[in-house]
């Protein structure tokens, strides 16, 4: 492949070998002109940026103050949970808005208590295992499947595409009861089997999104690769997969957010293990009695990894949300 590109690059010069000097002059002049234009553009942009950075007016300061107040009220619920996780059970329900004092402060007792009660760490690692592997399988399998059904046009690929699109409008409640039966019959009711369930139930959206992205990959690149002797498998993994990387990140983030937070599907499918949302729900106990203090501590532990993940890949998450919303 590299050989062909080099030839294309060389061809224009090869066409006009006799008046090389004139060609060089023309190229130089064009470069100069382009440079000038670019500079003008950049100057203009700089000026615009300067305008943007003009000191904020009184009106702007009011807006800024309003935004600060709203932002604080957005973080407040999380801070309240954090504060209450260090208080006695009675204090959490009776005075949730006051700081812990010498009487209500219990240190990390709620944490140790809660971790023991709900088996926090096994649940955490079950959730992590399921999310990581389900997302990896979804990315690998659905991108391959989407490539196949966009490149091969026959009756059954068209039918598959229709079925995948259809599955996106079916709510989970419609299939949940028979799904848990099927999973049980096929012995998929464990943390390995549930990955297949997630792949199947998440396939609709992921295939649909990948298919949308693959349509924008030019066929010529793939054809060139195949002519150079790449088989379909190598073509997909060497040519398409790298091009699809940004879209794969979008699909991965949307699926990770869904699977990590999912409560109902694992509750119905898993036989013995618990995921994190299931473990937290487990604290409610029978007849509505809730150990609120331990609950607060466990909520903090559940939120921390999400916030770390958010700050680590914030750029991708926000981009992915926009791309996912527009495509989906």
């Amino acid at each position: 492949m590299a050989d062909t590109t080099r030839k294309w690059d060389a061809s224009p010069a090869a066409n006009a070998p006799d008046n090389e000097e004139w060609q060089q002059f023309l190229a130089g002049a064009a470069k100069e002109k382009a440079r000038k234009e670019k500079k003008e553009e950049m100057d203009k942009q700089k000026n615009e940026n300067k305008n943007l950075k003009t000191p904020m007016t009184g009106k702007d300061w009011i807006k800024f103050a309003v935004l600060v107040v709203i932002a604080i009220s957005f973080i407040l619920p999380i801070l309240l949970v954090l504060m209450n996780s260090f208080k006695k059970n009675v204090a959490v329900s009776n005075e949730p808005f006051s700081f812990p004092n010498s009487e209500s402060f219990v240190g990390f007792e709620n944490y140790t208590n809660g971790i023991e009660k709900i088996d926090f760490f096994p649940a955490f690692f079950t959730s992590l295992f399921i999310t990581v592997f389900a997302v990896a399988f979804i990315i690998l399998c659905t991108s391959m499947c989407a490539w196949f059904i966009t490149r091969v046009k026959t009756w059954y690929t068209k039918l598959m595409y229709l079925l995948f699109a259809f599955s996106m409008i079916v709510p989970f409640q419609m299939v949940m009861y028979p799904m848990s039966f099927v999973a049980n019959q096929l012995s998929l009711d464990n943390m390995f089997g549930i990955i297949i369930i997630y792949l199947g139930f998440g396939a609709g959206l992921s295939v649909f999104m990948f298919a949308g992205f693959i349509k924008s990959v030019p066929l010529e690149i793939e054809e060139a690769a195949m002519i150079d002797g790449c088989g379909p498998v190598r073509t997909f993994f060497m040519i398409d997969f790298p091009i699809l990387r940004p879209s794969a990140i979008t699909v991965a983030i949307l699926n990770a957010m869904w699977i990590w937070n999912d409560y109902l599907l694992p509750t119905l499918i898993l036989n013995r293990q618990k995921t994190l949302p299931m473990a937290i729900q487990y604290l409610r106990g029978g007849y509505g009695s809730i150990d609120m203090a331990a609950m607060m501590a466990m909520l903090v532990l559940a939120i921390i990894p999400i916030i770390i993940f958010y700050f680590a890949c914030q750029k991708y998450i926000i981009k992915g949300v926009v791309a996912g919303a527009v495509k989906g």
Binding site: I70, M144, V170, M176, P178, F181, L199, G200
Partner: protein, 281 residues
């Protein structure tokens, strides 16, 4: 080229297809059939025709109440979420300090899962109501507005991000032209900004509509339907019919089919509206 790829069907398409058949296609078809049966386990069924559908509506008022509660909740939360998200987006596309920080903060609650969200807000709302000698399950109205506040806190940031990308795509020339023609800020909003971000509005309306209508986790964790199933939404009612009452699995499946039909109708209407707009462009 197509022929060469076609041979690789087992590697490329089969794994996804098999999982899809197991996790979606078979359960979906079974679900349709089971809604016409009386059963306690899937292995022992008795065909009863549309009996389950009649029971779903006539046996008690739970399903209709849930439908009404869900509709009410969906309308209120769609309006509030989109209005607030749009106002935030307008504020954050102006030249104000720290817009990125604000964006980050407003989006954050969206990543927290429904169960966790439900317990965060049940603590806060119960804490406030404690001063009035009540809890969130005292009155169905508390549960309703609690759920609306919760949904706003979770969804506003997400919709805001979509609105921001819509607003940033408007060409500054258009705004400038309107300014030169003497349009004031309000006129510019109505006649320039809003028509230009129609695609974002459609997406956000659709997402908030389906998210609110299909809500389960938040409803389950916040009130669990209390008091007396009055704050029960459709998804929770279906769940309770399946797993809360012995011998009612068929009715639960019938309710689930009705639920599916409503959700599909909303989605298809939405799709139709978007398509017809695309033609206009």
């Amino acid at each position: 080229m197509e022929k060469a790829i076609k041979k690789w069907f087992p590697l490329f398409a089969l794994p996804t297809l098999v999982a899809f058949v197991i996790a979606f296609l078979v359960p979906f078809i079974m679900g349709l059939y089971l809604s016409l049966c009386k059963f306690k386990t899937v292995k022992k069924t008795e065909f009863v025709g549309i009996d389950n559908y009649i029971k779903a509506f006539s046996q008690d008022n739970d399903f209709l109440n849930a439908l009404w509660f869900t509709t009410k909740f969906t309308i209120v939360s769609v309006v509030t979420i989109n209005l607030i998200a749009f106002i935030f987006a307008m504020l954050l596309t102006k030249a104000i300090k720290g817009t990125n920080v604000f964006r980050t903060i407003f989006f954050m609650p969206n990543l927290i899962g429904g169960i966790v969200l439900g317990y965060i807000w049940s603590m806060i709302i119960n804490g406030v109501l404690y001063y009035f000698g009540a809890t969130i399950t005292t009155d169905a109205n508390y549960g309703f507005w609690g759920l609306v506040i919760l949904m706003n806190w979770q969804q506003v940031g997400y919709m805001m991000i979509i609105y921001i990308s819509g607003i940033q795509n408007i060409s500054p020339d258009l705004i400038e032209a309107a300014e030169i023609d003497g349009a004031n800020a309000w006129e510019r909003l109505i006649h320039v900004t809003l028509p230009q971000i129609m695609p974002s509005i459609t997406i956000c309306l659709f997402l908030t509509l389906t998210n609110s209508f299909k809500l389960f986790d938040q409803n389950y964790a916040l009130t669990s339907g209390a008091p007396g199933n009055k704050t029960q939404m459709l998804a929770l009612d279906i769940y309770n019919t399946f797993y809360g009452r012995v011998g009612y699995q068929g009715v639960g499946q019938a309710k689930a089919v009705v639920f599916f039909v409503i959700v599909a109708a909303i989605a298809l209407t939405q799709l139709y509206l978007t398509r017809s707009k695309e033609v206009e462009n």
